[in-house]
Symmetry: C2
Subunit: 276 residues, 2 copies
């Protein structure tokens, strides 16, 4: 038996397109429907067999038994009330937003069969053109159920991500946002800030170190503006923590404290070695 | 005719070993001599035909007509007076240090045929085991002559780097240190600081973004402590500039100023696109 009958993916970009492709490839649903603002995206999604049919009209999702919102955070928040009026009563809804507190508190209120997801996959690349059914393989996917989440909803979404190859981890939405502010959101802010600082005339002197350190600064800016604003409190805390950390290094350099500087760098190195 | 008769590489690690290998491969010298503190390094360097002979005793360099100091900044500074007493009068000396002001001002005073070099090559990898004669191909190598540098010295070192595949650029040592503090030294500080900030228990949630952003935090900490301390003034300025940049982003997040935040991110993205 298929896991789902009719799956609707709202937003067939890199993540949505990859989910669609993987569901089709694994035959987890009888039908996959795509929704996008862009006709071209839908045509391409159909061409690569990511979706069976697509529409720019959200009403196409009305008979779906699973809807996945794979759009930027602000669009998830905006579209939820619209979707709640279109879908069937027992339709399960999930999303792929990079923050969870704001989304879960809003969506769980209006969608009775909702559970939040965050697949830790993707890259600085964008669009259906870069979709890849294997990006979830061996990745983590965080689910953020609340006390009110129905067991059946959670289990179906857990099975979906497992089938797509992800290791599923359950976290509260506030723990999710705290952890992600450190391991993902801050590195993005740092990358954007670092490249922003360097005068254009110096870019010719950049080595592979700077290029790698700022790879994620090529990411979709709209997506990240949404994430930073949605995770506002954690971001402010995390940026301040990072600034303090930099001040410690700065002060060691000022004092020519070779011993302290060596210890800071060696500790960082050790942690990097365990990260891989 | 060979470019040099006898070349001595002091420090046969990643950079020194790669230079030695490349000189041998291109047959630019009749003989390549290696100096290292470690007997094992010298054995390996000989085994891979990077050097013809090696010694832990610096006196082996006495008949060289070119000496390249490929050791950390503090060792370059310490060994220069020793070397000046060993080498022949017309022996050319260069170094591969990542900062240039302190090194050039010290070495140009005691070594009559000295010119500073900085090959923008290498990586977070270390040691002769990772040496590669092709790492200079299509890379930049900065030369930092002073008004007193002899034309012949500069020309011979320029030809050497050209032969190794590098594009040679001439800069004053203070311009070098200013540019490098932004495009190389700051990214390293940021990488060390970023990974240092993340609690160990969160590392399992790290995606490829964090891994790439902190790749250079695996670099040799001793080497980088020296560079940060040698480029002290620029580093303090650059860290403060970066902290201010972060504060701008933080303030935009605090004010939920989507327009400003979008502009900062889009500008960064554009610059990243031109960096590649």
């Amino acid at each position: 038996m298929k896991l789902f009958n009719r799956v609707a993916i709202v937003g067939t970009g890199l993540i949505g397109g990859s989910i669609a492709l993987a569901i089709k490839k694994k035959r987890l649903a009888r039908e996959v429907i795509g929704v996008s603002r862009h006709r071209k995206t839908l045509l391409l999604a159909k061409q690569i067999h990511a979706i069976d049919k697509g529409s720019q009209d959200i009403n196409i999702i009305k008979d779906a038994d699973l809807v996945i919102l794979a759009v930027p955070v602000s669009i998830i928040l905006k579209s939820a009330p619209v979707i709640s009026k279109i879908i069937k009563r027992d339709c399960i809804v999930s999303d792929t937003g990079g923050t969870k507190q704001e989304i879960v508190s809003r969506l769980a209120r209006i969608l009775p069969n909702y559970v939040g997801s965050h697949p830790l996959a993707g890259s600085e690349k964008r669009g259906i053109i870069n979709a890849n059914p294997f990006i979830f393989k061996d990745s983590l996917c965080i689910l953020t159920p609340t006390r009110k989440t129905k067991q059946k909803t959670q289990e179906k979404i857990r099975r979906l991500w497992s089938q797509l190859g992800a290791k599923v981890v359950i976290l509260s939405s506030d723990t999710h946002d705290k952890i992600l502010s450190l391991v993902s959101h801050l590195p993005h802010i740092v990358a954007f800030s670092l490249i922003g600082l360097i005068p254009k005339r110096y870019l010719g002197f950049a080595s592979s170190g700077l290029k790698d350190a700022t790879r994620i600064a090529a990411s979709d800016s709209g997506l990240w503006v949404d994430i930073f604003l949605s995770n506002q409190k954690n971001m402010i805390k995390t940026i301040e923590l990072f600034q303090k950390n930099l001040s410690k290094i700065k002060s060691a350099i000022k004092k020519k404290d070779k011993k302290l500087l060596s210890r800071i760098l060696r500790d960082a190195q050790k942690k990097k070695a365990s990260l891989g």
